[in-house]
């Protein structure tokens, strides 16, 4: 990777998007020093991330990965409180229950072992674990990619709904354009180790900066537009499905909207 520069605002969710091998995971792992940079600086709250010991740094950054990586010999409660245990400040019981409820889990699962949980439940535990130490920054590496469509949609919806996640700064890696548009406040589209475009989903959709961006989004363009472009706070998709709106009006809305997309 070279020449990568981006600034992420507090409480913002930034999605690193791109084809496989584009460097999005490398960029993510540079943040919590699972990969060390050859050169360059990453600052968190104004301080270089190289100025703290890697393990101290990582304890202040939540980390969620595709295969979850729960410890199979510990139960769910122990798994969630593991960061606190290694950091030597125990997780309080009410905080634990709060986390479990946030992430849409049942407290009955706390005494179970990871192998007894479904894939979706496991990833919810993974998110609860990342939140346990109350970090201000959370890194997510393809968190929902291993799940089936229905479960993935549920988790994505919950992701947007969980209040604890809303106030966190989140960097999320995905290769799934739909997911990027659904979850990201801003999207950094990467290719061949470089950021092609960094901006809001709408910007990428309507003002692609180069051919790569245009072609990468081309296949999903219409769907993304219908799902994301809002008129009076409602997406076009919602408007079209609204029974109370007449056919004539729907037609006008669509024509007007599409012209803004393709002209």
């Amino acid at each position: 990777m070279s020449g990568v520069s981006l600034e992420i605002k507090p409480s913002e969710t930034v999605v690193l998007l791109g084809p496989s091998g584009c460097g999005k995971t490398t960029l993510l792992k540079l943040i919590n020093r699972l990969i060390e940079p050859d050169s360059g600086v990453i600052e968190i709250d104004g301080r270089s991330n190289l100025s703290t010991a890697p393990h101290t740094l990582r304890r202040k950054i939540g980390y969620v990965i595709q295969d979850v990586g729960l410890l199979p010999h510990l139960n769910i409660e122990q798994n969630i409180s593991l960061v606190n245990q290694i950091d030597q400040h125990p997780l309080k019981k009410d905080r634990l229950i709060e986390l479990v409820q946030f992430t849409g889990l049942s407290t009955k699962l706390l005494s179970k072992h990871p192998s007894q949980l479904s894939g979706g439940q496991q990833q919810r535990v993974g998110i609860a674990r990342a939140l346990a130490n109350d970090p201000s920054l959370i890194l997510m590496d393809e968190p929902f990619s291993a799940l089936d469509n229905i479960t993935r949609n549920q988790l994505q919806d919950d992701f947007l709904r969980i209040p604890a996640l809303k106030e966190k700064t989140i960097v999320l890696v995905t290769h799934d354009v739909q997911e990027a548009f659904k979850l990201g406040d801003r999207i950094a589209l990467l290719n061949q180790g470089q950021i092609q475009q960094f901006g809001s989903p709408f910007e990428l959709l309507t003002h692609p900066i180069n051919d790569f961006v245009r072609s990468f989004l081309n296949k999903d363009r219409l769907a993304l537009f219908l799902q994301n472009h809002k008129i009076d706070n409602r997406t076009i998709e919602e408007l079209i499905n609204d029974e109370s709106i007449g056919q004539e009006e729907k037609h006008t809305i669509l024509t007007r909207a599409l012209s803004s997309l393709y002209l």
Binding site: H55, L57, D67, G69, H73, I86, A130
Partner: protein
């Protein structure tokens, strides 16, 4: 005496040997577990040395146990210390390898998540690697433990005690009950240890398991008398297992001469070196052994005439002799051709001058004007198979037999040398697995035929012992005795020459006087 009777009558010894055996195993396993896991963890951290290390502990595993014990002898002497070192080394491989593999095979995502959440190296080891690899590590420890119980029987050969004492004594004395009295508890011990470790493997997450283990260890330690009370004596004797039990061995010798010294049980092959190195002061050697000269040892005179004659005789399977009667004439050619001093000199050539066995055998035959092929005894389709016990003189005699037979009869022979005890080689002869091997009259009389000295008029008369042995071997086992070779390889007590000279001990009576003097 059947096994049950034997065990009951030797109960104290069974308990004693079992606890010694357990002690050797537990101590060496504890060491191997700690150090093995440590090495295993280390090589997951320093990948570069992993294959070298695994290769090295693998090579240790391939060293024959007796060779390893022999190698340790000059370094750490005899007894419990070299035994535990050897057992420890043998136990390492499965533990190191399983630790390494167990840690390496942990799901990469689990490791990544753990490191990503901020675990240090040490925390990763404690919370993730060791707990997850634990079942595999313990499987390695179980494998080691079972092997270890088996190998520990060999420790009897270097005076470390254990159930090997019964096994080796039984093998050399042709006593099946005695072998089983060692082998059976050893098997039970292996099953027991494996079972205990299996329980740990299953229930290691529960606290009660570890409390229970601690309890068992304390009971074992307390009950087993880890402080071995050694007799405070002036001199230490190293006797081989056969000598300790034999009718013509230590028990009779002690009652005739009164010899109060501490006895360490050890293997014939290691005995001379142990004496030479000063680990023991007295051994029961063979008078014609080449190492007597090589290690500058002094034979104590048997001034009360205790030891019976041990004239070397070729034993031949009866059926073989029927098929090839020419063997009789053949052996007559070397009858009475070997004196005590000649045999000692031949043994010395091999033990001290490191000459090859077949070369020395060939030279001896040349002196009788028999010009034999030096490389005899390697036929793939032999007419006759020649066996031997595992010491130099027996090896040499077997080579002489082989070269002689091939030269004089044209029969093809093959050598099958190094049987680990009188019982093993004799059974092989009886069952026709081998056709010929060199034996000694006293041994044949007392051990093979299990006769008492008082069954003939004069147990010290070579002719009477020979006649009685020949007749009984033929009638009881159909085994034929050929003409004696001429020399008498008797048991003899031996000391280092310098030591004997300084104490002025030249006969067994003088030794007894010295030991009993205040």
């Amino acid at each position: 005496m059947n096994l049950w009777e034997f065990i009951i009558s030797h109960w104290d010894e069974v308990v004693d040997q079992t606890s010694q055996h357990l002690k050797l195993t537990v101590i060496s396993m504890a060491l191997a577990s700690f150090i093995g896991v440590f090495i295993g963890v280390l090589i997951t951290r320093v990948e570069k040395i992993a294959s070298v290390t695994l290769g090295f502990v693998g090579v240790i595993q391939t060293i024959p146990s007796l060779a390893l014990l022999g190698f340790l002898l000059p370094l750490v002497g005899i007894g419990t210390t070299p035994a535990i070192i050897a057992l420890f080394l043998y136990a390492l491989l499965p533990i190191v390898r399983n630790t390494y593999t167990g840690i390496k095979e942990i799901d990469a995502s689990v490791k990544e998540a753990s490191i990503g959440m901020g675990m240090t190296r040490r925390q990763l080891l404690r919370y993730v690697e060791l707990p997850l690899a634990f079942p595999i590590i313990l499987a390695g420890i179980r494998t080691s433990a079972v092997i270890n119980v088996g190998v520990a029987t060999l420790c009897a050969l270097i005076a470390a005690g254990g159930l090997g004492e019964f096994i080796f004594r039984g093998i050399s004395l042709n006593n099946t009950s005695m072998i089983l009295a060692g082998a059976l508890p050893a098997s039970l011990l292996a099953i027991f240890l494996d079972g205990v470790l299996g329980l740990i493997q299953r229930y290691y997450r529960r606290k009660e398991t570890w409390v229970g283990m601690l309890g068992i260890s304390i009971i074992l330690l307390a009950g087993n008398g880890f402080t071995s009370a050694s007799k405070d004596t002036k001199l230490v004797a190293g006797f081989n297992s056969e000598f300790i039990e034999r009718a013509d061995g230590y028990i009779g010798l002690d009652s005739l001469y009164d010899l109060p010294f501490e006895i360490k049980e050890m293997e014939i092959a290691l005995m001379y070196r142990a004496l030479h190195e000063g680990d023991v002061d007295i051994i029961d050697g063979f008078s014609t052994d080449g190492r007597v000269q090589a290690f500058d040892l002094s034979l104590l005179a048997d001034d009360k005439g205790y030891f019976p004659p041990y004239y070397a005789i070729p034993l031949v399977n009866g059926q073989t002799l029927q098929e090839y009667p020419e063997l009789i004439n053949c052996f007559d050619l070397i009858a009475n051709q070997m004196s005590d001093s000649l045999m000692s000199a031949l043994n010395y050539e091999i033990d001290y001058n490191q000459r090859p066995l077949n070369g020395v055998a060939n030279e001896f035959l040349k002196s009788l004007n028999i010009y034999a092929n030096e490389n005899a005894g390697s036929s793939d389709t032999p007419d006759i198979i020649i066996g031997s016990k595992a010491f130099t003189e027996n090896f040499l005699l077997a080579h002489i037999f082989s070269q002689l037979i091939e030269n004089k009869t044209g029969l093809k022979t093959r050598l099958q040398l190094g049987f680990g005890g009188t019982k093993l080689v004799f059974d092989a002869l009886r069952l026709g697995e081998i056709d010929i091997y060199p034996e000694y009259t006293g041994t044949a009389y007392l051990v093979l035929l299990n006769k008492q000295p008082n069954e003939i008029d004069d147990f010290n008369d070579p002719q009477q012992v020979l006649a009685s042995t020949t007749a009984s071997l033929k009638s009881e086992y159909g085994i034929e005795v050929m003409s004696p070779l001429g020399f008498n390889n008797t048991f003899a007590l031996m000391m280092r020459k310098t030591h004997a000279d300084s104490l002025k001990i030249y006969s067994i009576s003088q030794l007894s006087d010295y030991l009993r003097r205040e």
